[in-house]
Amino acid sequence: MTTIHLEETPHLTYVLRLADTALVNAHRLSEWCGHAPMLEEDLALVNIALDLLGQARLLYEHAAGLEGKGRTEDDLAYLRDAPQFKNLLIAELPRGDFAFTIVRQTLLSAFFHPFWQQAVGSTDRTLAGIAGKAEKEVAYHLRHAGAWLVRLGDGTEESRRRTVEALETLWPYTGELFEVDTVGEAMIEAGIAPDPATIRPVFEESVDRLLGEAGLERPVAGWMQTGGLRGVHTEHLGHMLAVMQHLQRAYPGAVW
């Protein structure tokens, strides 16, 4: 089915970035369904995925409203190609092992918890409403992922090795969390978006506290990956979308 093309304003682009990050992160977590190390964790990971999917749906609905062309959340999720997705790169990396998933979820939650807390004051009242729900949900995600990070880092030699490896791989993707381009500047200026610079100290404080408890160290900040916000992705996103979008592309409008 034909790919749709949106006429993006900075506001629409900004909301799409948030929606895409939530959706892609939710999809990666949902891949654990039936594969987690234990039943309770299987439930926990898909519950977190479900929260994020709910946030993505609300954000896509908001984006569709901003565009005003009568499109639906499904159009935005299923009918755009990889270069049109604006998610953070950290969200699209393959799920890896359990340690990788836990480190990624800790980093993302440590960022999005203060992010949504601040977004409650957004001049975009719909975004503020979504933020009011999301900040409570992400507080749970952070507590859960953080507790596992401590257990894995402070666990066996093997769990520690895998956690350190995941941390080293993922850290270069954290720069993007704080990236501000012209879209971001306009949104901060309009009071729609929180300024990531004010979120960084909260993020670093909670990451350092958890790493400290886990007996791990924050990797040295070096070269940082970038591109997701502009639609320049790793090769992994296209494969993920092929799986996620296959049904709607092959059978347009299918419902069941």
Partner: protein, 160 residues
Amino acid sequence: MTTVALDRLERAIEAVSAVPDPEIPVVSIADLGMVRAVRLAVDGVVEVDLTPTYSGCPATRLIGEEVAAAVEAAGCGKPRVRFLLGPAWTTDWITPEGRKALERYGIAPPRPRGAPAEPVRCPHCGSEDTEEISAFGSTPCKALWRCRSCREPFDRFKCL
């Protein structure tokens, strides 16, 4: 408002309040604090404002459909059902009756937000010697707990 209109609004409120939660049918959506307003609009249509619990709760859409069906079945016409995101739902809106119904059903109710952490009582035997197994459970609103006295697992409503 005329007596007829008032009567119709009362019936609509009653019908909406009685809709059970699809996942936990012993509590109504009014007990859960999901019903924010029921009113008669100027065009005579019943308007219902609901608040979703969790962003991704799969029951949300079903609840909207059931509320619409209940209002129609009460002879109040087809209503307009809206979901309001703000203010965000909190477990503090669960009524005292709702809390009791949850406990009788085997789900430990949430404690009020900001209240000091106190032991969670086992809904089966009443013991306070309990522990959390997982912060996530069978639905988005519940966590998984276990009683160390009677050894039974139980659900606990998350505090949100």
